[in-house]
Symmetry: D2
Subunit: 150 residues, 4 copies
Amino acid sequence: MRRILIPIDGSPASIKAAEKAVELSKLINGELIFITVVNMPSEDKYAFFGMNVEQQFTINRKEMIDKLVQEETKMLSIVVRNLDIGNLKEAQKIIVGKPAEEITKCAAEEKIDYIFMGRRGFSPVERFFIGSVTQKVISSAPCPVVVVNG
Amino acid sequence: MRRILIPIDGSPASIKAAEKAVELSKLINGELIFITVVNMPSEDKYAFFGMNVEQQFTINRKEMIDKLVQEETKMLSIVVRNLDIGNLKEAQKIIVGKPAEEITKCAAEEKIDYIFMGRRGFSPVERFFIGSVTQKVISSAPCPVVVVNG
Amino acid sequence: MRRILIPIDGSPASIKAAEKAVELSKLINGELIFITVVNMPSEDKYAFFGMNVEQQFTINRKEMIDKLVQEETKMLSIVVRNLDIGNLKEAQKIIVGKPAEEITKCAAEEKIDYIFMGRRGFSPVERFFIGSVTQKVISSAPCPVVVVNG
Amino acid sequence: MRRILIPIDGSPASIKAAEKAVELSKLINGELIFITVVNMPSEDKYAFFGMNVEQQFTINRKEMIDKLVQEETKMLSIVVRNLDIGNLKEAQKIIVGKPAEEITKCAAEEKIDYIFMGRRGFSPVERFFIGSVTQKVISSAPCPVVVVNG
């Protein structure tokens, strides 16, 4: 059974990539693993400037991550429900961290065969760019990356 | 007088770029405009999935932006204080928005002659990449962009 | 039947991509179309500077293209012979032009379902780059592009 | 005296970059070094496939390089003549090799302070791309790279 990783950020391109992944998975009896990565600016860099970050910043950051994880979990389940995945096996993961790093790490740990990604995330204006997360995943992935135009 | 825009995200590359900008500005009597852009995941995308984002999410987001603006303002003033700018004229801006868009907009509005940027932001691992903000600014800037390796 | 386009420039990454394409094609009964694009500096730009290019330049250019087409045709047939394609249907094309443009055009004309490409061409040193031909094909392809690390 | 390197491929963007370089050089008494790199497909890769390249290929390749060097030398001198460089010191170099590598090597050897380059070479269609030579020079240059939109 082929294992397919599908990073979802909610962008039309990521959903189009999911549709293409489902289409191929039906032909090869693939197993679908959806992943959404929640990222938040960290306070690490301020230490470098000798700054004491206010305690409230750290508290807010944790609360914000919790809220984002909640909303992204809901969003991911809606995305998957809207796909016509039939009897394909599927799993959903929400991870906190840097998107490209977490996607690459997940691909290695889960012995993924193909990663399906949108060419770019939320930047409809910049329509010729390859999104920075997609670029980084292409450059470091342990398996082929299928890039889908949204 | 030449006007020089210097986006600062606190990364070593952005500080190296600032040093190079100061060096050139002393030769050409440049005026320095430092800019830091605060970005936060927005709830806009969830509407697309018919989700009602909890009110608490929106409240947290606003608080998080306020805290980030405070911390980034402190950081930017420390960065500028640590530069040896002598008698050069300077200004500091903190803006909330998407980094590349705000930098490009500021360059147009302020009739900037040169933008000095680090090649990449906070990704020491990916040392051959051109950071995505730098890529986007290069592609849309109304003036030359001086890219400095950190 | 799924139609798979495989641009080959002779680089290890392009051959690895071909192997991955064959592997998938066996699962989905794919049809393989191999393409090699021969590119040569043209004299067009010199006209812009009011230069009369020597006739000998144009003659040399044509001869050089002929020789390259001969060598690339041999190379492509060796590449395909070395792949274990079994009973899969295959075709080989040598085209003179700009690589990314010709690959994209071919994908549209041949109603291709997937393009399999190496992440980069002949630049082993720059191992984190996405090659410029691959970047351009990703940005303009009418179908998903499977990017394979060499 | 500041040393400015200006790679010229004849594209409008490279000429615009040259104009910006001249403008700055007049303010800082810069010295201008123009460089054009001639590149030709080599036969090296065919050996990998056990192919004996016909002797005629090698002869044609050498002749083609000679012709290109002649034409590019003429083109570069026309480009420089059309610039309003006043009393600035200048030199012109034509080098055979891979463009990004030779530009980076030249920047190191000549102790260059700034490289001025067009954002992209000859691909007006792909107007949002950073050209691959420019990308590579940005990533490996020993000095700041000033990227100019054509």
